[in-house]
Symmetry: C2
Subunit: 382 residues, 2 copies
């Protein structure tokens, strides 16, 4: 039997009306919304002639990654070696590690997977890491593709100067076991700028930092085949600008309250609907009649705006937290608190750490539970 609430819900798969009968708290993927978002971004990328390398840090789920590949993705991006190796064990073979590491044991696990068929791309931001990946790849009898990690304003990892980028590019090219593949430049600070024009200005600033590095690399004979970056927030700008060769969008297939205010296309209209939801149950009522539900900070990552709450498809209010295991439904004016036992579907404050709280995601289509997918890389932020 599956672990936790998924084990209680397994018998409901395929049953009519099962969506309304789920034991809770359960993480949901609305299949119709998910597929619409999957197709929409894939189509925009095709029209622009650019690539997509969806980031699995958002969902950590092999079944979702497989569908992203089927929709034309170049490969899947991963934040950590543990997440990447879990997806490799689940059958994904084109995987990129988007952050530097400092553990030789983890590097050796990655190159060992490359020797077993993983098409691995990694990023480096310092010469020691080039040497470490090279030595490990040689010991494993394999080759690893390497990008230069560039910082265009995020202030996290990556080099900021053309000189450092060229120096790393030469070191990668000279290191047996490594293949120089280009550049990563993730403009993380751009993604959640709500206003379209302000976001364009922020992305232009990131590009203004990246462009001289790209020019310098080309002049040094290190023309990057891959320029990877961008995300859900900046995808349209990145497709228009054509400076990147591929976009690492993650949240688009799930969506959350933190991203929802972003005016993605400058039209004021939502582009991606809430495909990720958490269904909770009313377990009782407070003394003043508010419905108390069985989901708190152990079922929702709470680092974002409060969830909106739906009953039978109608938005009835929002959730205020009432402890780590409980929430308090704040119904809108004129809406009665739902009774004990009622199932309520809620959007999530922040999708990435919410997916990380659940072992399984319940795939629902219309009024039916269609499947339960494991979240293989849940908890593997190592």
């Amino acid at each position: 039997m599956k672990r936790g609430v998924a084990g209680l819900n397994e018998a409901l798969i395929g049953q009519p009306g099962s969506r309304a009968e789920l034991e809770t708290p359960a993480l949901l993927l609305d299949a119709d919304r998910f597929e619409a978002s999957l197709d929409r971004l894939a189509q925009l990328a095709r029209l622009s002639g650019m690539g997509l390398r969806p980031h699995a840090k958002s969902h950590k789920c092999a079944a979702i990654a497989v569908r992203q590949m089927a929709a034309g993705a170049l490969g899947i991006a991963c934040a950590k070696p543990g997440e990447l190796l879990a997806l490799f064990e689940a059958g994904l073979t084109k995987l990129m590690l988007t952050a530097p590491v400092s553990s030789r044991l983890k590097i050796d696990r990655l190159t060992a997977a490359a020797a077993r068929g993983l098409e691995l791309i990694v990023v480096v931001d310092r010469l020691e890491l080039v040497a470490a990946f090279g030595a490990s790849a040689r010991a494993a009898g394999t080759h690893v593709a390497v990008l230069i990690d560039c910082d265009t304003g995020l202030g996290r990892t990556g080099v900021t100067t053309t000189e450092d980028a060229v120096s790393l590019g030469r070191a990668i090219s000279a290191e047996a076991g490594l293949v120089y593949a280009g550049v990563q430049a993730y403009a993380g600070k751009v993604q959640h700028v709500f206003d379209h024009q302000e976001r364009r200005a922020a992305n232009d600033l990131a590009n203004a930092r990246l462009t001289p590095i790209l020019v310098g690399l080309r002049a040094a004979g290190l023309a990057p085949a891959i320029v990877s970056g961008g995300g859900t927030g900046s995808h349209l700008l990145d497709f228009e600008d054509g400076i990147l060769t591929e976009v690492q969008a993650g949240s688009y297939v799930l969506m959350d309250e933190g991203y929802r205010p972003v005016d993605f296309h400058g039209t004021g209209e939502p582009v991606f609907d809430f495909a990720m939801l958490v269904v909770v149950s009313v377990i009782g009522h407070s003394a003043n009649g508010e419905a108390i539900v069985d989901g708190g900070s152990k079922s929702f990552a709470v680092d974002g705006p409060p969830p909106r709450v739906y009953r039978d498809g109608v938005e009835i209010g929002t959730i205020a937290w009432a402890g780590d295991e409980f929430g308090r439904v704040k119904t809108y004016d004129g809406i009665a608190p739902p009774p004990a036992g009622a199932r309520l579907e809620c959007t999530v404050p922040h999708c990435d750490p919410t997916a990380n709280l659940h072992d399984f995601i319940h795939v629902v289509r219309g009024e039916r539970l269609e499947a339960i997918w494991p979240i293989e890389a849940r908890g593997l932020s190592d």
Copy 2:
């Protein structure tokens, strides 16, 4: 092999110096501090003549619960049926469910466990729930002990009037399959009041709401054998007042930055040291030289004050979040950023949801990794 980072660290158990070599991010339990806190609260309870029923919502770990039982606990409190059943499967047999539920399937799982040897106590706050537990217990051929859930100011679940409490007490007593056992009154709002006198005033207010209910129950021939409540924040007040018969403290064995400012004994001195830590590694540096570590909101629950960071036992700064997988070390004045590969031990903003992020807890004593314990109820907030 154990899942995730614990699998990478298994070979280090018992090795000299292994604490400094852990692969990361890894959840730690400092065994000496844990045992000191375990013993200290157990001793205070003994001196007061009151009971302890430690709350497993904080740690979700059977090995910790077993040690709490060995230190004299009456039983273990659990927030959710999934958490409770996971601890029962792991060998704990005296378990209390501290919140109402609304799922007949979950109720049936609980009574089925009672039929297999679980000494179960549950709480109810409405007549339908009395009937549901009674019917389920009878169908399972077992008996369940039941407490009346009273709201003394938390505003979550529970009755607020003597009339409702007496009505529930009579219904429980009359229901075949149920045994009336007393009252639960959890004063959740009291726990995090920092100042000792203000906390005493808040606890007095909760007691002033509880006392007439207890008097009314006794007058109705429903004298409660159990009056369960309290927590880490109010433990000393509860031991002094003697109104409760037992305290449901949870965080005391782990401790976090959210609880640390609470002046538990009115002495200005810490009572419980930070037994729970997360060890992270420096994976690189930002352009301005800050150390970037491999722990973010997927390794730390971030709903609390920022972690303090220790290197080789010396506090060197705090963490600012740099994405869901990363942190940024803000070193104190005059302290150099640690180099790539350095292991840093961090306190946690909030212990309960942090434990819920990890599959295993690494037990360290001095400079050695002593054991790796599974967190059996991780993710089981159903």
